[in-house]
Symmetry: C2
Subunit: 426 residues, 2 copies
């Protein structure tokens, strides 16, 4: 195969006819496939469904003297706090165990920052003239959505292979209106990047002008390797404390991709001062979170070491899917030289960079052929990809045989949109 960039117009036109015919053929199949969201597959959920019977008797429901079935322990069951401290490498006192969704706690933090302020806020953010959030992108669309919902100005920070462009992040620290940065530090969504040690150190050492600048450290994929062994990762709370920024970071994790998606438990890890402050704040809205499910999870997952064994089961289902995505892209697209993508060892996504200016068109072609993908642009603030290039592939949900078909449609659509672009048809 010749790279498109080395082809004459005539050759491109010939290719266009061939690829157009391929596209019409797959479109005619009337497929209905979904690679849109990071949802676990049924096979994964089945592999962890012993969770359902981890707690079956009255006696099982006790965590020491505490009856998980009754009100109390707002910050979480002691065993659940200890479990998360083990997973994240921090102290149990720095853990607040919440409900089924870490996103909900992130949104609560932002919501209360707007109406009441964080520790150190001179005033509630709704009283500020303007509030700005730094948004390394491509990133997680739901992070951006929360910022947009609350009217923050979203500032695009490019991602590099080692994490956010830290020169740019640091340059924004002099602006007191910059109040937050949102990151997924390990197996970033969607690039699958693990932030480098240097990036992490520079983040911990930021000197923000805003006294209440906060980092949402969404460690959603903290133990989510599907290839190779677990990659150790530093405790951001300690690093921030060492740099004199103990209250700057709010870390989040959940079991949504360990046990059941949306049916697990979540945690926030933060300084003891922040945990104390937010236990007070959350005490207004909650008597206590679902401790029965917390205990069910502790009994099933046990500790970090045992959870890593469970993650191997997920890996056994996930790895072949990522290999399928890689194979199609490497075979069909790599030789044509007009696109690139990452090859992550963990997380839930493959980040694909189409020929600039063709991401929306590629998405649309896939969609018309029955393959649903995350909207083009969704991985950028305000859904505006400056290069119209990034697409997020979420291969976890469909079985491999469906994924094969979806990847055929995607690779054909990639070629067709690139050819349309090169031939001035877009």
């Amino acid at each position: 195969m010749t790279p498109y960039s080395c082809m004459t117009t005539k050759e491109l036109e010939e290719q266009y006819e061939i690829v157009k015919a391929q596209y019409d053929r797959v479109k005619a199949q009337g497929l209905k496939l979904n690679m849109a969201r990071g949802k676990p597959a049924k096979a994964q959920l089945d592999l962890v469904s012993d969770l359902l019977t981890a707690l079956t008797t009255v006696e099982d429901c006790f965590d020491g003297d505490i009856d998980s079935r009754n009100y109390g322990e707002l910050a979480g069951l002691p065993s659940a706090r200890a479990y998360w401290a083990d997973v994240l490498g921090c102290k149990a006192e720095q853990i607040f165990v919440g409900g089924a969704a870490s996103l909900n706690m992130m949104c609560d933090i932002v919501s209360r920052a707007y109406t009441h302020g964080l520790l150190g806020s001179p005033r509630p953010w709704c009283k500020e003239e303007k509030v700005k959030f730094l948004c390394p992108a491509p990133g997680y669309d739901r992070h951006f959505q929360i910022g947009e919902f609350y009217g923050a100005e979203l500032i695009y920070i490019p991602m590099t292979p080692t994490g956010p462009d830290m020169d740019m992040v640091e340059s924004y620290m002099s602006d007191p209106q910059v109040k937050m940065m949102w990151v997924v530090p390990k197996y970033s969504n969607p690039d699958g990047i693990i932030f480098s040690d240097e990036t992490i150190r520079r983040i911990a050492a930021l000197k923000p002008a805003a006294p209440d600048f906060a980092i949402i450290w969404d460690n959603a994929y903290c133990i989510h390797e599907f290839k190779g062994e677990y990659v150790p990762f530093p405790d951001i709370l300690s690093l921030c404390a060492e740099e004199g920024n103990p209250n700057m970071v709010f870390e989040f994790a959940s079991t949504s991709k360990i046990t059941f998606a949306g049916g697990g438990t979540s945690c926030m890890a933060a300084s003891e001062a922040n945990i104390q402050y937010f236990t007070g704040v959350f005490g207004v809205q909650m008597i206590s979170y679902d401790k029965v499910n917390q205990l069910r999870h502790v009994k099933y997952l046990k500790d970090k070491a045992h959870t890593l064994e469970i993650m191997k089961r997920h890996a056994s289902v996930m790895a072949p899917k990522f290999e399928t995505v890689s194979r199609w892209l490497n075979t069909e697209i790599a030789p044509l030289g007009f696109a690139h993508w990452n090859d992550p060892s963990g997380g839930y996504f493959v980040s694909l960079y189409t020929m600039p200016g063709t991401a929306h068109r590629t998405w649309s072609l896939c969609n018309q052929a029955g393959v649903v993908m995350t909207n083009a642009g969704a991985t950028y603030p305000y859904r505006k990809d400056p290069n119209d290039s990034n697409l997020r592939i979420a291969p976890s949900l469909p079985p491999v045989e469906e994924l094969e078909k979806a990847m055929e449609v995607l690779t054909i659509s990639l070629k067709l949109s690139a050819l349309e672009k090169l031939l001035g048809k877009l």
Copy 2:
């Protein structure tokens, strides 16, 4: 026994010496008893712990085609929405099934009203000069706390035997700053009053000046009879719709006192327009609530009829406790004529009215003798009981033998504080 009001000062002084000696005796026992919060007893939790095994296999996890273990169905599983519609007598489309706590959804409604507004809001409430909440009292302290947290002005509305003083409520409807009213319409907290049909009709027919006036209809005890048969209760959504106020009411219920306290599921019932609006709003913070627990509850509780049978089990534990409270008060206090209390058939509380000016002192005497009760004043906005008279007795948690001791302490403390008051010692 002679009523205190018929005693001479000398007789009162004699009584004081006797009661003081009784108090010193019980205080010396070093008791540690709790009648502070509406927590179910262990015996109740044990009676419903088959919930733990209502969902044990992969096959159990499906609600029709929907896998409860995966993301999706933000407004709740279809079966869970149908369940709550059955319980509350509304339509499934009017139900949003949330997480473990209805209080959390109430707080979310207020939070989003402040930052974004409700349907029909001219502007977010944080942009209003002032926002006022009508607070029928005695009422639920956590309702008042949410209003206070958001800086609303809390307006005290006296409770009558048929519900809130509706003349006063209606008189406030001309004030556009009045944005909310919070009520527990069946077995009100703490008075145990069932709002009369006329009160309910007048509430549904309110003509508020604020276009976004909202009623929090916290139907926490909708099926919570512990004496006699289930008392049917009208569907407030239909009544509001008939009166041209379809979007005015948000009804809440939960299984916190049906299955596990803080480990159950909750629902909001509202107009379809409100459900649509808040599904959008909640979609910012949640991918979906815990549907596994929703399905677990549907399989265990089945429907309203079966749930009412389960409530009979709770009644078998609750009724003797309320009888114990009644017996002590009727035997020890009624003949003395200085206090009164309600005698509810459902809910979780006995509302006790001490001699005016002695509730704090009674609470304090109990506390010093090792009996913890809800703080005096807590049942009023800003914790200010205008008569310093109301105490909330929550007899559900302690076993009957502990309750006997706690009631002995309470009745002695009631007498002692009344005698102190009458003798000018307070």
